[in-house]
Symmetry: C2
DNA sequence: GTTTAGCACTCGGAAGAAAAGAGTGCTAAA
DNA sequence: TTTAGCACTCTTTTCTTCCGAGTGCTAAAC
């Protein structure tokens, strides 16, 4: 059933007042605003309550939006404003400043400082990654540098010590071995090949080989892992709903210890909003989450989210977050921190 | 003036009770414990107050240790117990489990989980670091891999794109240029040399060279920076002294935003304890900090610290922290996560 | 001279009562 | 359909009272 225009207007006003004040909204305030009597507003209140859009903390308090109310607000009532010119400038500024070098890990940090809520960022793991190329560089008799390039063009390297002396020839052999049997292979295949090749190799050499392969496998594992970073958890201590130390502690430890369980919705829109009980996780039952995803390039996607009370400033958060995500996408596409600057 | 034996005994008891209960300690409780009358204890209390070792929250409450009282306790009265066999086993376990791969950044995390206080770890920056060697590996016409080994034997690498085509010869030239003019040089010297060399170079080549040198300089900068990581800040929400959201928020944001100002004392002992006002930083005025340093090898030192209320369980924290630091030192000296496993 | 019993005194915190206030629901009139 | 009016509900605040834990001091006891 479609709500009347005035009901929508009232719901919108309740949500916005409550977002601002964190106090239940009474009929008198709205009466003034709408130019009708408080009794009229009360009648509407009563109906909105019956329909499930509003709630009453107790009999004689004002009204508070229910999750369903927030949902309607977000879907229909909220003005989907975009960021102001100054906001945009500010965001661009911080982005340029802090994100050079392609360190995506602190995207959450930027977002958190932008919206004053806890934020998190997820860098999608690249599970199918393989090694494209091995290089070995001689250092001295007992050590060499291993360089591993993965097929997403990331390069990592380490110094490796060996028990036995490695001359140039031997190093070349090892390198050939690595490049023929361990490039373009999945994790499982690498382990398998290690076993196969191992049989025909002198044990000392095998030891070095396996150490190198393990190093490479570790890189693939690390790249395959979904990485979640949370920041700004302490922001919640400023909010009235978390003045209670126990509640604050609960959410806080969740954000730190269970961050892997933060929602990573399959994105169909640019920004997604999960309100209160829409979150599957029990600990997020009365918080809302706003997430946006951005393009890293190579078809990969990153994700940043904001966590806050259901009484969250959805309009501002949504605007800033989506602008942020767009900017990130642009930057990865062509902008300053281009792929050639990516460090390892 | 030296305190009488009984005064010390009483001070010790007050400190330990207060550490456990966070409640002011009354004379009756101690009377029972010491087998004297409460009046006697009260007399001693009064004198300890005058001497500045105890404080009274208000006229008719029990006594609470003053910072000076804690100091005496820590210096003389506390039983400097070492960790129990099970504790040691537990610590070794977590160390082995979590620290393979030489990721020191989360030493604080381990400590925090060990003592249930917020913790931080500082990895000393190596300011005098220089590049020992450059390597360039051809990938395709327009890109190559830059490998940089610093004189502490750390290796880092990145893929670098160029505007102009680079054949093997040209790459060799560039490499020679790098290795002759930019190894074993300080940051300043590198910049200077870049200017000097630049004059005699075609501009396209110079662009590539400077990009590479900048990359190396960035590595040196990063290594030179003192890196502070804090963990477990949310632990404070469990403590009665931080049930007040404002106080909790203050300390919390300090631990997150001002972590660079956490104390890094010049170590003369294995474990150092800073009590309340002994901390220079205003925000730490009523917290205590316990820090231990450990050996990374190569004469480098790392540092881990624990932050908590002055009512901190000094005995346990000190024991665990020093055991932890010792274990770390041992591990870096000869243990599992040996230098050859250090990743970049 | 130290220790202890005794006692009056001081606070802080808990418990209760009362008052204030905000907001409601309902009825009846406009 | 809107609104004025009014009784009612329930929270919050404030004030008071009361209790008890703990003190400081004095005078007696060891």
């Amino acid at each position: 059933m479609e709500l009347s225009g005035r009901k929508k207007q009232i719901l919108k006003a309740v949500v916005e007042h409550y977002i601002e004040s964190a106090e239940p909204v009474g009929s008198k305030l709205l009466a003034q605003e709408l130019g009708v009597s408080s009794a009229t507003v009360r009648n509407e209140f009563a109906e909105l309550c019956e329909l499930g859009y509003l709630e009453q903390p107790h009999t004689s308090a004002g009204r508070v939006p229910s999750p369903q109310g927030y949902r309607l607000y977000v879907n229909e009532l909220m003005e989907r404003r975009s960021v102001s010119a100054e906001e945009a400038e500010g965001i661009d500024e911080t982005l340029r400043e802090k994100l050079m070098g392609g360190a995506i890990s602190n995207a959450g940090q930027l977002v958190s400082s932008l919206v004053h809520y806890p934020a998190y960022s997820v860098t999608a793991g690249n599970a199918g990654l393989t090694v494209e190329r091995f290089e070995l560089l001689s250092v001295d008799a007992e050590s060499f540098i291993t360089v591993v390039m993965t097929d997403d063009k990331n390069v990592k390297s380490q110094l490796q010590h060996t028990a036995l002396a490695f001359d140039a020839e031997r190093l070349g052999d090892l390198k050939n071995l690595l490049n023929t049997h361990f490039t373009r292979k999945t994790r499982a295949e690498m382990s398998e090949n290690l076993m196969n090749v191992g049989d025909q190799l002198p044990p000392e050499l095998f030891l070095v080989l396996s150490k190198t392969v393990e190093y490479a496998a570790g890189i693939l594992d690390a790249a395959g892992r979904r990485d979640v970073v949370t920041t700004g958890a302490s922001e919640i201590l400023k909010m009235p709903e978390y003045r209670d130390a126990d509640r604050a502690h609960e959410l806080m430890t969740f954000l730190v210890d269970n961050k892997e369980q933060l929602p990573v919705p399959e994105g169909d829109g640019p920004v997604q909003i999960l309100i209160g009980p829409e979150n599957v996780d029990h600990a997020l039952r009365d918080t809302s989450v706003v997430v946006a995803s951005y393009d890293i390039g190579d078809g990969m996607r990153g994700l940043v989210g904001v966590v806050g009370p259901t009484r969250m400033d959805y309009a501002t958060v949504t605007a800033r977050l989506s602008y942020f995500a767009e900017s990130l996408t642009k930057m990865f596409g062509k902008g300053l921190p281009s792929p050639e600057d990516q460090q390892t």
